[in-house]
């Protein structure tokens, strides 16, 4: 039977139907033939019996009268019937009285049929076979007054019936064959017409399995197959829509894109005019419309759906889909003016909403609406529900992706911040990087760092890297103070309603809403408070708090590192300066020693020379030119001694002996000496200006006079053609500033930095020690000196000296 199972449905259907028809005919035709034959033979029998009875009855008179002539006439008239094979009258002994065949009279037939016929006392019918001709033999006794006298016997041919039966059979068989053929054809056609849609369905299924969802089955009419095809097409459409939705939804992980895609597919799926999606916030117990498609107004945007109110609210409350034919007239919906107004504005009539559920929890609402009189069917709602299932998965994926993305972005941010702030040791830059990163990671958030102020420990915000003391909080006061005193994060959902806020003006001006405060701790010491405030309501999650806490920690560590580095650098700079100073001093000391040795060695011959000259000049015998020459020798000896004294003053300085020094007096005294010195041109004007309340300085009188002498002498020597030397002094807090200005040619810029170096001189005949001595003395006095010069304008020295501390 394997071959049968391998046949197509079409072939099996056709074969079965044909077989049925054939069997039907096979069962029917013999019956019909049998009945027709029976009927034909029965009629022949009845006719033959009737003929024989008439024959017998007609023959009674002749038999009674033994009138053979009449009998002959009767027999002949009977025999005229073409079907009559024979006709005879027998006597009781079976002898033929009259026969149509004259020659047969007087014979006695001994065959059983003839014996039976001759002996019968009632009408008898027997079947006979005469050659090839079949027939009936009829025998009817001829009674005369209840006395059987003879038997009338007729042989009737059935040849005519047989031919009729034959004809009838052929007709019936022909008809049956024709009917059979028609039946088979019909069956084949029927099979084809029945199996074609099935084939279409099969092909459709094949197409679907091949992925061709655009395939549709042609309309088949209103029968079950037609309905099946319609159902199939609808199913394919639904699958196609589902797959399209699924594909579209899974093609993006962007939440907004997913929402848009869901809404778009919902629109197309149920051919609605509007669609909206509202994610459900479990904590807030509300769903806020996040995306609307097809809207004409802004009324629906950001509309908040509350459980129990409106159609969306009904869905939120029951978790079941809902649909209404006309929203505004719908009974069983708790109307809310917000929704009703929006519906009127949009011209919404029919509306349907389904929950977007994930693992049994409602995560959002999918809502569609018609503006026309169309309504949503159960199938629409089912399709929307299915799509909502897809949407839930896509939204969950998007959420997970977004979460992952945000987390990774934050981790990346943290990493970048870590890198950035560990890469710098500048505290200002660290703060800038941390605050910048916080603002980037929390869109639109304001981040501020509050630091404890040195001295009183009040917390002040850093503005542009510097503490802004115009605002402050005590530790424990306000939110920042709370973070500082508890050293724990503080979270506030709504600053606008928090009574602890101190700087409410700041909150209002910047539109701050949610707050996260984090302590920056190094061991137990508070380095600052990182205050993050958003401009939109926000619930900080544990993750975010942990993240920003690690930011704060990172910042604290880096700030501490930076501080340590600054300390280190400062001490290093101190060391470097000390080392430079040491080198300078060592060099100076070495120079000083050399200078001292040279000076000492020079002083002895100088001393002898001086003694000799003095002795010679006391000799009155020396006069004239010789006396003049001696005077020159004495003057040059004096000059030489001054040079040696410079060397000694530089090389073997004596520590200053501090006392209260009246600067104006020292300046005037030096001016007086200067006026009497040959090196000061008479055309130079000496001017001094002193603040009236100038305080005395703390210094060594002789050394300060040395300072002024050297400076003033330099100044006047710079003005050989005359000019003004101006000395000014003024008090600056606990210091006195003295400026010495000449109107000389100025010092070239490249030379200026070197003028305080020992042995540096631009003047022939100078030792180059004057300014070095000046600087050393000023520095030993705890002061400092600077020089400014402008070519063609002049040079001015500014030195600052500490004032004499007031005793008592």
């Amino acid at each position: 039977m394997g071959w049968y199972r391998g046949l197509s449905l079409h072939a099996r259907f056709a074969l079965n139907t044909s077989l049925g028809i054939a069997l039907l005919f096979a069962a029917m035709v013999p019956g019909v033939l049998y009945l027709q034959r029976s009927s034909a033979l029965g009629q022949a029998r009845e006719r033959g019996l009737l003929l024989t009875r008439v024959f017998a009855h007609s023959s009674v008179q002749a038999v009674v009268a033994d009138d053979f002539l009449v009998m002959r006439q009767i027999v002949d008239s009977i025999a005229t019937d073409p079907d009559v094979l024979y006709a005879m009258i027998l006597d009781l002994s079976g002898r033929v009285l009259v026969h149509q065949e004259v020659g047969e009279a007087g014979k006695v037939y001994r065959d059983p049929l003839s014996v039976g016929a001759a002996a019968t006392d009632r009408p008898l019918v027997q079947e006979i076979q005469q050659g090839r001709v079949a027939g009936y033999d009829f025998a009817v006794p001829i009674y005369v007054m209840n006395d059987r006298r003879a038997v009338a016997r007729i042989g009737l041919s059935l040849e005519r019936e047989r031919a009729a039966i034959e004809r009838m059979r052929n007709t019936i068989l022909g008809l049956a064959a024709a009917a059979l053929a028609a039946g088979v054809g019909l069956a084949a056609w029927q099979a084809r017409s029945v199996t074609r849609p099935v084939g279409d369905l099969v092909r459709g299924a094949h197409e679907i399995t091949r992925g061709n969802l655009a395939h549709r089955i042609a309309p088949l009419g209103g029968d079950e197959l037609g309905q099946l095809a319609l159902a199939f097409n609808r199913m394919t459409e639904a699958v196609q829509a589902l797959i399209a939705t699924s594909r579209a939804l899974s093609s993006t992980l962007d939440r907004d894109e997913v929402l848009r895609s869901v809404a778009q597919h919902a629109l197309e799926l149920v051919k609605a005019d509007l669609a909206a999606i509202a994610p459900y916030d479990r904590d807030a117990r509300e769903a806020r419309i996040q995306l609307v498609l097809g809207a004409r107004t802004e009324r629906l945007r950001a509309l908040v759906v509350t459980p129990g109110r409106g159609i969306g609210g009904a869905v939120l409350a029951t978790g079941e889909p809902a649909r209404v034919g006309s929203y505004l007239d719908a009974p069983g919906i708790v109307h809310d003016p917000r929704y009703d107004d929006a519906c009127r504005a949009e011209g919404i009539r029919a509306s349907a909403a389904v929950p977007i559920t994930l693992r049994g929890d409602i995560v959002g609402l999918l809502w569609v609406a018609h503006r026309t009189t169309k309504t949503f069917t159960d199938e629409d709602v089912d399709a929307l529900t299915r799509m909502a299932g897809q949407a839930a998965i896509a939204l969950e994926n998007a959420r997970l992706y977004e979460e992952t993305r945000v987390k990774s972005a934050r981790l990346e941010g943290l990493l970048r911040v870590s890198q950035a702030i560990t890469a710098t040791l500048d505290p200002g830059r660290i703060v800038e990087v941390v605050l910048g990163a916080v603002s980037r990671l929390m869109e639109g958030a304001a981040a501020r760092l509050w630091v404890p102020r040195a001295g009183d420990g009040r917390l002040v915000p850093l503005v542009a890297g510097a503490p802004d003391s115009s605002r402050w909080v005590e530790p424990g006061q306000g939110l920042v103070g709370l973070v500082a005193s508890t050293r724990r994060p503080v979270v506030v959902d709504d600053l606008r309603r928090d009574p602890r806020v101190v700087h409410r003006d700041l909150v209002e001006r910047e539109g701050l809403v949610s707050f996260l405060g984090l302590p920056l701790l190094r061991e137990d010491q508070l380095l600052g408070v990182l205050a993050i405030a958003t401009r939109a309501p926000r619930r900080f999650t544990e993750d975010e708090i942990a993240l920003f806490a690690s930011f704060a920690q990172q910042a604290a560590t880096s700030l501490e590192n930076a501080r340590l580095y600054q300390d280190l650098r400062a001490s290093n700079e101190g060391l470097v300066a000390a080392q430079e100073e040491l080198v300078r001093k060592t060099r100076m000391a070495a120079l000083g020693q050399i200078a001292a040795v040279v000076a000492h060695e020079a002083r002895n011959p100088l001393g002898a020379l001086s003694n000799c000259v003095q002795l010679l000049r006391a000799n009155p015998n020396i006069g004239g030119e010789d006396a003049e020459l001696l005077a020159i020798v004495q003057a040059e000896t004096q000059r030489l001694n001054e040079i040696v004294s410079d060397f000694l003053a530089f090389g073997r300085p004596r520590p200053p002996q501090f006392e209260e020094v009246d600067l104006p007096e020292a300046v005037r005294a030096t001016f007086a000496l200067l006026r009497h010195d040959d090196r000061c041109p008479g055309s130079v004007h000496l001017a001094a200006k002193f603040d009236p309340g100038l305080l005395p300085v703390r210094g060594d009188h002789d050394q300060l006079r040395q300072v002024f002498w050297n400076l003033f002498l330099n100044a006047v020597q710079a003005m050989p053609g005359g000019g003004e030397l101006v000395v000014e002094a003024r008090s600056l807090g606990d210091r006195v500033e003295v400026s010495v200005r000449d109107a000389g040619p100025g010092i070239p810029t490249e030379v200026l930095p070197r003028i305080f170096e020992p042995f540096f001189t631009t003047r022939a005949g100078g030792t180059g020690l004057g300014l070095a001595i000046v600087r050393r003395i000023v520095e030993e006095h705890g002061g400092h000196i600077a020089v400014h010069s402008e070519q063609g304008v002049g040079t001015w020295f500014v030195l600052s000296l500490p004032v004499q501390p007031r005793s008592g």
Binding site: N604, P605, N611, C612
Partner: protein, 136 residues
């Protein structure tokens, strides 16, 4: 001027013997000449050892010693003089002397501390005061 000074009391002048100690011959000799012209009796020595020898054998009204000498310095001599001839004044002369050296010399008993080059009037004034005082 020098003549006038030299014309002072002869007794005083003769007894006013001055010991000049300096290892610099030019300085030593010019100083000795300057003092002799004022009428003083001057003994020149070039080292502390030599000076000590002179001090043992003779009496001096004043010692003028250079500070920087080898192997023994003017301060060493000052110490020795103050030990053995405590009444003999000593002037320390130096080509260079800081305040500390000056203080040290004065602490050890020097009557004066003068820097070279010496100013003749100043020196002679001091010598006159000391020698007169010593004898007076």
């Amino acid at each position: 001027m020098v003549r006038a000074l030299a014309a002072g009391p002869a007794e005083e002048r003769l007894t006013a013997r001055i010991l000049v100690v300096d290892d610099e011959p030019g300085m030593r000799k010019s100083l000795a000449i300057m003092l002799r012209r004022e009428g003083y009796e001057v003994t020149e020595t070039a080292s502390v050892a030599e000076a000590v020898g002179r001090l043992k054998t003779g009496t001096y009204g004043l010692v003028i010693a250079d500070l920087m000498m080898e192997p023994l310095s003017g301060l060493d001599l000052l110490t020795l003089v103050k030990e053995h001839r405590p009444r003999c004044p000593v002037i320390i002369v130096t080509a260079f002397g800081g305040p500390e050296t000056r203080q040290e010399a004065l602490r050890r008993g020097a009557v004066d501390f003068l820097e070279k080059p010496l100013q003749a009037p100043e020196l002679l004034q001091r010598v006159r005061e000391l020698v007169r005082h010593d004898d007076g």
